[in-house]
Structure formats: structure tokens, C-alpha cells
Symmetry: C2
Subunit: 339 residues, 2 copies
């Protein structure tokens, strides 16, 4: 990505191993993420930023200190790399790893919208899968790299429990995975807040029981009306704007939780007094998706959840610029990249 | 309280039963609360506001629909009244009871800095104690009406767990009870942040392991230095100013929790991006102290915790105005009232 609205496919030096803990993967599947649209519209961190932070790859080579990851394995590449050994990784918070960082952010670490990529701390970062690279479950497995784990994180952070009323703000891929996660955790009522009819239809198939298309105070009133006047037990904030965090604080019930996973484009959390008097908790952040694979993988393998349904377009590398345009114009929900 | 800095003892009509679910208590012990100093300095809600929201009383009479509370019982009066039957009471969040409210707030509900008081929803509000009104444990039992339950709530909201590093912001009675609560929940390191030497000395006796007297960025650096550079797992925000919530966000470690119990005199929670990227949770509010008595009472009865040590002055009703002055001038930590 060179500047706002300017994504190009460029030849770059071949990915190689740099450190003995690295692995080299050939990218089998990658994605364009809703969060990639922020730099697509605002401009990247650096001109020529290598994009992409979600992938399934095939391990081509490993460094001399790599112990568990093997050549030939099919692996999930979570959007954050992590050493797997620090205190935070031990606590299942790989996104705060003391040696960690994020793919596709314009640092010396590359992006996954590419043919190949060097993976730091391969043992701590990559998660081997029990399938071949052409398995029919590949779309759903690919969501373990980000959106399904992120939707699950929103639900966990908002403390979704069986029987709950849950409101999901945002009908993008993460919001839809939030619907799946809320249903999976036993929510009884799942209110999707969005206004794209195709996405709303998919949300209903994935478990949403109610739809709120309004915005602002009208939306708040609709959610309260749908929840017996009390608001939702759990709000999954999957957008990241000042308006969406404001809505979150307005529609949560006393004692409820807000789970933030939309990258925040706001500086303060509003309604500090209302959330206090109502004992509302606000939690969330970049999802430690690596930690959630153990829990989510069996449900994908056994067909209980199908987060791969969020993909509605597939492109090759040359199609990536078109993929950005389609997602930015809301003509595609989520784009899969097959290099 | 008539206006800022003007507290007087006044003759008012005798407290009587209004509804069949009421009880009438004679106040055996009451308190002046740190939160009473906000209206003491800023002015009360109404002139002639009846103050006081913490008490132990003796039940003098009960309405015809009162079932569990009996005449002659010694009872804790939590700072909030609650019906005991609504959804929120059932969830242990009595401070959000649909029929509930707060004592001593200038509403038609009176205050406990008085000889007697009418208690709404007696069965849901009052908690009978297994002691007489002159028991030696009375100071500690009195803290179940607010400050010990509130300190415990801060620790729960901040998710204090065994082995944790905990920072307690504020060396008032709630902060000191937060120290007790953190120790009780197994914290290994308890950092008290305050600058009153007598209170800090008491905090050390109650379990604080470290003291930070600095403020601002200096304080943040000290806490980080004391916690291996990472910050505290749990921060107990027991003050309620913009500065103290800002400090909370600066000294909490990734994945940590902030428990807010200081009545917020700020409108937004700062550092919305830093707390996001660090997966910090912010929770808390008015403590449902009624729900915590079951858990805390045995530890008081068996001497494992002594929250009554926060009282350093006792006054009769005529001494209440002096009690406010002493607390406001920081000459008393917490004042007990014996009408």
C-alpha cells in the first residue's frame, strides 16, 4: 500500500529466514481485513507498506531453533506473532507478548497478502492444522487467524453467558463472527445492529434473532425495547468509532459488559458516570486469537460453527487491489486471497 | 446539611413506617463517609438534606408484609436499599434494584446520621447480625454497610487473583479496605498510593507491601519500577478524580483490570486506545455490599479481617458537624457516630 486508495502488487525480495526461531511459510490463503480499510482510507504507516495479517500457510523451512513446527505442515498464522514463552503468552495474552508484534503493519515484519512470509518465533506463533491445504474447511479455518477469534474475544470480554441478551454492533466479518460466538456461548437473544441487508440476512442464518437498522438514539431505544427496557447483558463493539462506543454505553444493562474489538478511533470512553452507576464493565482489545484456537478448532472441524461463510469473494494476488475496492465500497463482505 | 460546610443537628418528624414492607430501625452506629465530603464541599442536593448511608440498627417495628426481619434484631443497613426480589437483586447487583435507591441522598428517604430511620423493603435491604449491639466487633461489622464491601467490590471488579500485584489508589477508608480485600483474595504485592503518613502506616499493618507517595508521572514510574516494569495486575481506584482514573490507566499492566469505586467526578475514561491495545478491563461502580455480607461476615466474626480499624474517631449526634470538619481537614480518617 503506497498511499490512501493505492494498493499495488509489487515484486519484493524473497522472504527468507532471519533468525533461528523463524519459519518460512508459503501463503496458501490470506485475507483482506476490515481493519485494512483504515489505512486504505487514511494512508498507510509507510509508503510501500506490506499488507495482510491473516493467513494459512505451508511451512517451507524452519530455523535451527524451531522445535515444534515442521516443514510441510499446514499452519494458521495469527495476526500477531508471539514468542510463546513470556509471562503474557503464558497467560494466553499473546497480543501483549514482550517480543511480539503484528503482521502487515509497516514494520520490518512483512504482510500476508503475498506469496511467502517469514514468521518470527514460529513455535510460539504458528498453529499446525490437522488438514491439507485444499480441505473444504479452509475458509472457516482461515478465520482462526483473526475474525473468528476476534468475535469470540468480543464475546468473552463482554462476558456472554447462557441465556443472555447480546447486542452486536457492526455487521462486518467480525460482527458476524461475534454473532457466531455469542450463539456458541449460549446467548438466547442476539441483536445485530447494522444496515446492509445481505449481511443482516447472513447474521440471521448464523444466529441473530433480532435486527436493529436504526442509528443514534433511535437505535438505543429499539434495543431497550427489545430487551424488556433493560438493555443487553453484553454488547460486542465491532466497529471502533466514537459513535459505536457511545452506542455501546447506551444499550448495555446494569451489570452488563462491553467487549471492544473494533480498533478504536476515539480517545476516551464516554459515559464514565453512567457506566459507573450501572456497574458496567468495559474490556477487550486485540484478540489473542492464538490462545483461542484450541477451543474453536474442534467446533470448526466438526461443523458446529461455519465462520468461513463470511467470505463472499476470492481473488488471486493480482486481484487484491480490486478486493480492497470491493470491501471499501461494501460490495464485498470479506475477501479471501489465494496467491 | 444545609449548604457547603454547613452541617447541623436538627429536630425532624419522628421516623415512621410508610409501607407494609418497611421496617423502623433505631440507629445504633452510623458513619460519616468519604463520599459525604463531596456534598460537604460542593453543596448538598437539597438544603436540609438528611445525611448518612451506613448504619447498624436495632429493629423497632416492622410493616405487615415484612417476613424475615424481626423486631429486636441487630441489622446492617447497606448504603443502598433494595427489594431483594427483582432480577438485579437476584444477580447480586442490589445497587441496580428496580425499586431501589440510596440513603442520605436528599430524596424522601432519610439518612442514618440520626436516631432512627425508616427502611424501605426491609427484607431485601437489612441483613441480621448474630451479635448484640454492644459487641466488640461492632466497628468492623459496621464497615459491611459500605467501606469494606466497597473495597471488596473494587478488588473483585479489578479481578484480583492469588499472587497478583495490586495497586490501591487512595488511602481513605475505602482504599484501606481495598488493601484488606486484596490481601484476603491472595494478592502478593499490595502497593498503597497515598501521602498521609498515619494512613500509610495503617495500610502497612493491614497488608500493604509497598508505598508510593509520588503523584503524576513520577508515581506511574514508581509503580512500574515496583512491578518489574509491567504495571499492576489490578488497580483499585478509590478516589474518583480525573487524575486518579488517569493514573489507573497508566499503571495497569496488559491484561490487567481497573476496579472503580471512587464516585467519578470525571466524564470520560481516558486512554481509550492504550487500554484497548493492552486489553485492560475497566469495571466497578456502587458496590452491592448487601451481596457481599455472606462472604465477608465470617472473616470478621472469626477475626481474620479487622476493617473496623479504619475508624479513628467516635462522636455522638451533636458531634457530627465536628466529625465532618475533622474528616474534611484530614484530621480523622473515618468517623463513627453513636447517636
Amino acid at each position: 500500500m503506497y498511499k490512501a486508495h493505492d494498493v499495488q502488487i509489487a515484486d519484493v525480495p524473497d522472504a527468507t529466514l532471519h533468525n533461528p526461531t523463524d519459519a518460512l511459510i508459503r501463503v496458501a490463503r490470506a485475507c483482506i481485513c476490515g481493519s485494512d480499510l483504515w489505512p486504505y482510507n487514511d494512508g498507510p504507516n509507510v509508503s510501500g507498506q506490506q499488507m495482510g495479517h491473516e493467513a494459512i500457510g505451508v511451512v517451507e523451512a524452519v530455523g535451527s531453533d524451531v522445535r515444534t513446527v515442521k516443514q510441510g505442515q499446514v499452519v494458521v498464522m495469527p495476526f500477531a506473532y508471539s514468542d510463546g514463552t513470556c509471562m503474557f503468552c503464558g497467560d494466553g495474552l499473546q497480543t501483549s507478548c514482550v517480543h511480539g508484534g503484528f503482521f502487515g503493519q509497516g514494520t520490518e515484519i512483512g504482510g500476508a497478502q503475498a506469496e511467502a512470509l517469514c514468521i518470527p518465533y514460529a513455535d510460539g506463533t504458528l498453529y499446525p492444522l490437522p488438514v491439507g491445504e485444499d480441505d473444504a474447511l479452509m475458509p472457516s479455518l482461515l478465520t482462526l487467524a483473526d475474525v473468528m477469534g476476534t468475535g469470540h474475544h468480543a464475546a468473552r470480554a463482554a462476558r456472554v453467558a447462557p441465556g443472555d441478551s447480546v447486542a452486536v454492533i457492526g455487521d462486518g466479518a467480525v460482527g458476524l463472527c461475534g454473532v457466531i460466538a455469542a450463539k456458541r456461548l449460549g446467548a438466547e437473544q442476539i441483536i445485530i445492529m447494522g444496515r446492509h441487508e445481505d449481511r443482516i440476512a447472513l447474521a440471521r442464518e448464523l444466529g441473530a434473532t433480532d435486527v436493529v437498522r436504526e442509528r443514534g438514539e433511535e437505535a438505543n431505544e429499539r434495543v431497550r425495547a427489545l430487551t424488556g427496557g433493560f438493555g443487553a447483558h453484553a454488547v460486542l463493539e465491532c466497529v471502533g468509532t466514537g459513535q459505536s462506543i457511545g452506542t455501546s454505553t447506551a444499550i448495555v444493562r446494569p451489570g452488563g459488559g462491553i467487549g471492544r474489538v473494533g480498533v478504536p478511533h476515539y480517545d476516551t470512553i464516554p459515559a464514565a458516570q453512567a457506566t459507573f452507576y450501572q456497574n458496567v464493565s468495559v474490556a477487550g482489545g486485540p484478540a489473542p486469537v492464538r490462545a483461542y484456537i484450541d477451543e474453536l478448532l474442534p467446533d470448526i472441524m466438526e461443523g458446529r460453527i461455519e465462520p468461513g461463510r463470511v467470505f463472499d469473494r476470492t481473488v488471486d494476488l493480482d486481484g487484491v487491489p480490486d478486493g480492497y475496492r470491493a470491501m471499501n465500497d461494501r460490495k464485498a463482505l470479506k475477501v479471501m486471497v489465494r496467491p
